[in-house]
Symmetry: C2
Subunit: 209 residues, 2 copies
């Protein structure tokens, strides 16, 4: 695999490639041309070829891509075979929805545990995941060393909680709080989920029509 | 304003511009250079200038952008002053979380109503929004003509429900179902929220580190 600096734009397209290829694979499609994949994804064939060239040689002139192989390769690049483990912090409605409906295993994540402050929730389970008290968080993280924390907590506690988890060794945050988290600790990654972006895109499209 | 075909990539960056400018505005920042805005957003200054040039003339050589003005202009381009009205379909955990926590008004949307099939939810309210029976959906939409439907329903009903709503005149769908919806009716827009994309980006980053 080539060693080069991959741009954020390319990195952000990789999950979309994976989703489309996974969907094609599930539909039994065996191969696809970059033109055909591009037209489904609304990007150009040359963009696809250029993006993939950052990671190696894929596809074959005149044949296109083998869907199963390219899906597996991109999954590997994305690290879905690394067995990442995560904890969910905040089991309110959004946390509950994720625990109940989101298919973490499909993208290689294992949910270890969930945490909340509410006495009504502590000790209950959602799809076999027990919700623990936040008082147990530190000792849990020290003992089991999860890779990622999913934050669905109130905005006011987001940054102090992230700081606490970084001190405990967590390096990845899937952040639903809409707070822009930051840290001076190197090697810590925040991925923020901004629901509003897609709603604003929709607003743009219906306004222009 | 120039009339030209705006690329999807530009359209998808507009909400991010709006978010960053709104944040700067809330922090009392009066002006900002394209270099400084670019470094916060992790894109190049020339990309910003090029994106904005699709919509007109903004900023001033040597001064930069007036934050309040540019925020208002981009908000206008995004249609947040158009008073779009929406309904939420599905008041399970995810729908509940959106109704309870998402600041629709901040981006110019008014929630009219919510709908669910569950007898336990019908007639209850979340932040003053009453949850109605799905049986009332058709007559409600015919009478009040909302612009957008937020779909947080099970996957199996997503496409038939969208078809039904399109027949009733709804033209925008904020789709949380992970089903790729489609229609032959022109002028209908789907914006799909794929939680998994950001989780896979995070997976990539922690795997590479």
């Amino acid at each position: 695999m080539k060693k080069q600096k991959i741009s954020d734009a390319v990195i952000h397209r990789l999950p979309r490639y994976y989703r489309y290829l996974d969907d094609l694979h599930n539909k039994g499609v065996v191969r696809i041309s970059s033109n055909s994949l591009g037209s489904r994804m609304d990007i150009t064939a040359s963009q696809i070829r250029q993006d993939l060239s950052c990671f190696g040689e894929f596809g074959q002139q005149g044949y296109g891509y083998n869907v199963a192989e390219l899906r597996a390769e991109i999954g590997h690049i994305l690290g879905i075979d690394n067995g990442h483990r995560l904890i969910v912090i905040g089991a309110g409605h959004l946390g509950h929805a994720l625990l109940q409906n989101f298919d973490f295993a499909k993208v290689g994540f294992q949910i270890d545990s969930a945490f909340d402050v509410s006495p009504d929730l502590i000790g209950t389970t959602i799809r076999d995941i027990t919700i623990h008290s936040m008082d147990e968080l530190d000792s849990y993280v020290e003992q089991y060393r999860p890779d990622v924390a999913v934050l669905t907590v109130p905005q006011s506690v987001a940054q102090p909680l992230a700081d606490r988890l970084i001190d405990l060794g967590i390096r990845g945050f899937w952040n639903f709080t809409n707070v822009e988290l930051s840290t001076h600790v190197p090697g810590v990654f925040f991925e923020n989920v901004h629901f509003v972006d897609t709603l604003l895109t929709l607003s743009y499209r219906i306004s222009r029509n």
